[in-house]
Symmetry: C2
Subunit: 149 residues, 2 copies
DNA sequence: TATTGTTATACTCTATAACTATA
DNA sequence: TATAGTTATAGAGTATAACAATA
């Protein structure tokens, strides 16, 4: 976990993979948070922009995506809208629903952020050889594919 | 990122690895947050307990570990201490410093949490064969080893 | 009746700034 | 002077509960 040495693993222990997975996740999240913070965004705000990068979603859709309550989404969207990063519009299909989508400023910002993310994370991935990178990608995608979680 | 399809990758794109890495990190973090929430803890509180699992650290040490401000640590430790999960004690070496360590209840809790984490994350890892699991662990540890990030 | 979204409320997380005590 | 930690303050993130509007 946060303390891999605590389990005394040296790559031979059964839970070593999960420890490594958690460790890598924290490192990755820290990098993403840094990129977001450098642009006065929280990690959640960054994720909202990323999700809307090429879609228009309803409030409920966004909340589902992030695993948050609708009321939490209202606040997040309020603040991002106030900053001119995204917009709301009544849904045409359903009078109760509200569509959310990026404003031009928001679209421009997420492109910059995305480039920043690739730049910030590449030191991690380029620690591996190209062949290793391909293998790692395959394994990660196989784990995701089994969306057992 | 949060929207891998947005980059139109199909495992052939250069940034596919980073997309997968981010995706896996979010999934992993969501599982950890769920385990924490099921025990009325935030992810950060869980991390504090995990870090202290087998060490006694000063406030500053904890803050460094988590990348948080000292004042933030004060609040986190206050609340956890109030719940009887950890304790503070004046450092013997340095009159200004404060050591933090788990209480018996906190120690018991983190063991249960750790077991819960392994159980909750195993559906992801067991999607891979044992040989793949070993390879993945090796690759992840190699990425971490190059603590370039 | 059920669903979509907002508002009110409360609490946690977080940072910045100002402060105390020790080094 | 510099460092360790706390406190005060403010804002963001989060959930629960109550509500209005629409389905």
């Amino acid at each position: 976990m946060d303390n891999p040495e605590a389990s005394g693993r040296d790559s031979a222990e059964p839970d070593g993979l999960i420890d490594a997975l958690v460790q890598v996740s924290f490192t990755t999240t820290a990098v993403l948070s840094k990129v977001a913070a450098d642009n006065d965004l929280s990690l959640t705000q960054l994720r909202v922009l990323a999700i809307l990068r090429d879609r228009r979603l309803r409030m409920a859709g966004l909340a589902d995506y992030l695993g948050l309550e609708k009321s939490t989404m209202s606040g997040l969207v309020d603040r991002a809208e106030k900053r001119g990063l995204l917009q709301r519009a009544a849904s045409l299909d359903d009078g109760r629903a509200v569509d959310v989508f990026l404003s031009p400023d928001g679209a421009e910002l997420i492109e910059r952020l995305y480039a920043g993310i690739l730049r910030s994370l590449s030191p991690m991935t380029t620690a591996l050889t190209p062949a290793e990178q391909r293998r790692l990608q395959t394994l990660l995608e196989r784990m995701l594919g089994t969306s057992a979680v």
